[in-house]
Symmetry: C2
Subunit: 179 residues, 2 copies
């Protein structure tokens, strides 16, 4: 519902009551809860689609690619899909950042995305622990890149690539690998 988003930005999440949202949307409080599991869920409608995008990208990756490349590419795919909604993402992120309760929910969505990605990797034959780890890495990259995207750079896929580069840089630090 756009009514909810508007009210959340106007007067803040906690100051907004479900009755308020329902009224502005022209429905009953009861039917609000028939559309959304709870008051927070309104802001996470697209999460299902995002997850499908990632899972599909993982499944479609060339068999020769390693787990890390696969998740990296999948996250970039997701970034491409979100690219043209930066303003919306920003507004949403602002509300979420201002509300611990919503932050919680977002973390849950990302974690769910992570386990779905891990499952998709396992379907490719990646052993369970490696799959879980690679998926978590992918989510970590997504988080960091998202932050960069809404604060600094307008190019989300580029942020993903940059974060991936940082990631591999972490594994080849100052000391020369083998003297």
């Amino acid at each position: 519902m756009l009514a909810a988003l508007a009210l959340y930005t106007e007067r803040g999440y906690e100051q907004t009551t479900v009755a308020d949202i329902a009224q502005r949307a022209g429905v009953t409080e009861r039917t609000f809860f028939r559309h959304f599991a709870d008051k927070r869920e309104v802001l996470f409608d697209g999460s299902g689609a995002l997850q499908e995008t990632v899972v599909a990208a993982i499944a479609a990756a060339p068999a020769s690619d390693g787990p890390l490349d696969v998740v990296g590419a999948a996250m970039e795919r997701a970034a491409v899909a979100m690219q043209d909604r930066r303003d919306f993402a920003r507004q949403r992120a602002a509300i979420i950042a201002a509300t611990p309760s919503l932050h919680e929910r977002e973390l849950l969505k990302l974690a769910t995305l992570g386990t779905a990605a891990a499952a998709a990797l396992r379907d490719r034959g990646v052993p369970p622990v490696a799959a879980a780890l690679a998926a978590e890495l992918g989510v970590a990259v997504f988080k960091v890149a998202f932050e960069q995207w809404i604060t600094d750079s307008p190019d989300f896929p580029a942020c993903i690539r940059a974060a991936l580069a940082e990631l591999s840089a972490l594994h080849t630090p100052s000391p020369a690998p083998r003297p």
Copy 2:
């Protein structure tokens, strides 16, 4: 409160009312909420101490170590501190796994741990993005290792080391590292 933990395991989290917990603990519902911010927080009492352990370990690491080694060692420290409470951790994990709402809270705690770790890394001079990424990696390793610990291996620090090994293996895939 141990009263809460007991009731949560006995009849499940959602079936347990705060009034129940308070009654078993011999206090009022009101004083329950004076001790804990909300019904979930009871299960996350130790999280502050855990975070302090990790942050302290990061701050105390030798200046020559790279970010990844630093967080890895810090997580191992945390693992050592938890090592002798495996049964408790198990029971707690079972309750949490059975309750989405509690899963959410746990993710929030881990995320908070992550940002604290990132801040500690930045204090060492690690640049912000690398710090954030390394911290997320540390949390990811912790998650995976924890899972291994309570299901398979009784040695938590060893699980951390194993997960760290898997992590670096991800960056040196199928092609043999050194023939």
